[in-house]
């Protein structure tokens, strides 16, 4: 697949020799497009993003930037790749230096960008172009991060990422610190930028309802593995893996009850066999073995009973234990 800009090729990722991500493959094609990474807290989503950013090296497998293995990069190649792939994190407060004005933060980003040579008026005009891009007023350049709202901070973070003219943005919970009206505006902004700059997004979020507007493809992680991946509409609207189904069933609904238990989240995950086994309401003896990520229609699912789930999230509510 030479069309991919960036891809994880069967990566296993570890902290201090403890593997937390196992054999994950993910392809980020050329933009404008988006891939969503959703799933359990602690399942390794941020860790995968760190690997794609070259911040941690896989214990096995490779991260490929086009045709090149990221770990083989020379210093200058690495600098180029670092520019091309930019992160935007959840909380603008932590990502921005509290003592640096917005103008300074953007200038700093420009100094490592292809526009580093710009001086004086040309530079100022690039800064205002960036602010304009994210819908901020030029007057904001003299303000410090705590003097602007959360939504404005997130726009500044996006502008800062855009300053280096990237091709890929890794968005880790980009709107979860924002209220729904501001979130809607940031999503509109991201959608517009995606098309105007032909960007590829990797969107990490717990908010399944925002996935579809930016990402046509979705991967679902559980316990360090991708358990289901495929076109967003198929995966989220008619899940094939019981964990995906339980995610959908656990979404709080306006004015509804607290979502009921869907396989108990407090039992953790199994170390052998299917890792979702202990929570899975439809587990069978066969699940003591490990299911492979197998292709079913246009998607990949690792579940022995994927065909029984087959788009019916309510199956996870059934009391049935054996078929």
């Amino acid at each position: 697949m030479t069309a991919d800009l960036l891809r994880a090729d069967g990566v296993t990722l570890s902290y201090a020799k403890r593997a937390v991500v196992h054999d994950v493959s993910l392809e980020l094609p050329k933009g404008p497009t988006g891939v969503a990474l959703v799933g359990e807290s602690g399942s390794g989503k941020t860790t995968v993003a760190r690997a794609l950013l070259g911040m941690i090296e896989p214990t096995s497998g490779r991260v490929m930037f086009g045709e090149m293995d990221v770990s083989q990069f020379s210093r200058s190649e690495r600098a180029e790749y670092r520019r091309t792939v930019q992160p935007v994190f959840q909380d603008g407060t932590e990502a921005l230096d509290p003592r640096m004005t917005v103008g300074k933060a953007l200038a700093e980003a420009l100094s490592v960008s292809p526009d580093a040579h710009l001086r004086g008026a040309a530079r100022a005009s690039r800064v205002s172009e960036l602010l304009d891009d994210v819908g901020l007023d030029g007057g904001i350049v003299d303000r410090l991060p705590h003097q602007i709202s959360g939504g404005q901070r997130q726009r500044v973070c996006i502008a800062r990422a855009l300053a280096v003219r990237p091709k890929v943005l890794l968005l880790d919970e980009p709107t979860s610190a924002l209220d729904v009206t501001v979130q809607a505006k940031i999503l509109d902004l991201l959608r517009r930028l995606q098309h105007e700059h032909s960007l590829t997004y990797l969107l990490i979020t717990h908010n399944l309802a925002i996935v579809e507007s930016l990402c046509s493809y979705t991967a679902v992680m559980f316990a360090g593995r991708v358990v289901e991946q495929g076109p967003t509409r198929e995966v989220l609207l008619s899940p094939s893996h019981p964990y995906t189904a339980s995610l959908i069933a656990a979404l709080p609904r306006m004015g509804g009850q607290i979502p009921t238990a869907v396989g108990r989240a407090d039992v953790g995950f199994a170390e052998s066999g299917c890792s979702f086994r202990m929570r899975c309401p439809i587990a069978i003896d066969a699940c003591l073995a490990s299911p492979e990520l197998a292709s079913i229609g246009g998607r990949h699912v690792s579940c022995f009973r994927a065909n029984d789930v087959n788009g019916d999230p309510s199956i996870v509510n059934s009391k049935e234990v054996t078929p």
Binding site: D179, M254, G256, I258
Partner: protein, 266 residues
């Protein structure tokens, strides 16, 4: 308290004319708010509308972020707005405790979680076996393995840190949890688990909750009353059903309309 044979419960928290300012900028004003035992009151509204500022002020923690707080916030008869440090500390371990928006930042990065938990119980006079039992129970309730106690805050995921903070509140057996976006870092299945946990704590221990969240769908499953804030002011207060089904302010209507729904692309 009993008056003429009728039990009159006084509120656990009673806020009157509370104003939070940074320099000369008023960022949060709550004219009146009472929170009773077992009740969940949610603050929702715009980013930057003053929800976190209000919550910190209710905890008596306003001055830590450099804010000036005026008015009264009575918790168990103590006005935390101007209470001396020692008194405030007592209120925090027994009456109310904070579960914050960025849990990882709230935890001392140089200590393993086990030591953090023990220390925080010790500050409120719980030690030894009793402390160990309470910590183990609390971890089980928030769905974390004991093994987590050996880790440092940066070695756990955002969601795990969040659950650990809730576990601390559970172990302290406080009367009220003040939670700032307690589940925004959690996947929805774990979130559902935490919501059920908070709901159970409310039923079994009559624990009260002041919940800050911009997830209206989430708030709608848990809150008894909803306070809507915008630009530092309270624009609407009402029961959950009033606010959700017959909102009075335009801003509330705008918020309700902006809630994203799966399968409906805007």
């Amino acid at each position: 308290m009993t008056v003429d044979g009728v039990t009159v419960t006084s509120p656990l928290i009673s806020v009157r004319d509370m104003r939070v300012t940074y320099g000369d900028r008023l960022v949060s004003h709550v004219p009146e708010l009472d929170v009773y035992e077992g009740e969940c009151v949610a603050l929702v509204g715009e980013s930057g509308s003053g929800k976190t500022s209000a919550l910190l002020a209710i905890l008596g923690l306003g001055d830590f972020s450099g804010a000036t707080v005026t008015g009264t916030v009575l918790i168990n008869g103590v006005n935390v707005v101007d209470a001396p440090q020692a008194q405030l500390r007592r209120v925090h371990g027994t009456a109310i405790t904070l579960v914050s928006q960025s849990p990882q930042a709230a935890l001392n990065p140089t200590m393993r979680l086990g030591r953090l938990a023990k220390l925080s119980l010790k500050q409120h006079g719980v030690r030894g076996h009793e402390a160990n039992v309470r910590i183990a129970d609390a971890l089980a309730r928030v769905v974390l393995p004991d093994e987590i106690l050996k880790r440092y805050p940066h070695e756990v995921s955002g969601g795990q840190a969040q659950r650990f903070c809730i576990a601390l509140a559970v172990a302290l057996q406080v009367q009220c949890i003040a939670a700032d976006e307690p589940t925004s870092a959690l996947d929805v299945t774990v979130q559902a688990e935490i919501l059920r946990l908070l709901d159970e704590l409310r039923r079994e221990r009559n624990m009260a909750m002041v919940l800050v969240s911009h997830d209206l769908a989430l708030v709608s499953t848990l809150a008894d009353r909803i306070v809507v804030m915008k630009d530092g002011a309270v624009v609407e207060v009402g029961s959950r059903d009033e606010v959700l089904h017959s909102p009075k302010s335009d801003y509330t209507r705008e918020l309700l309309a902006a809630v994203p729904v799966l399968g409906v692309t805007s």
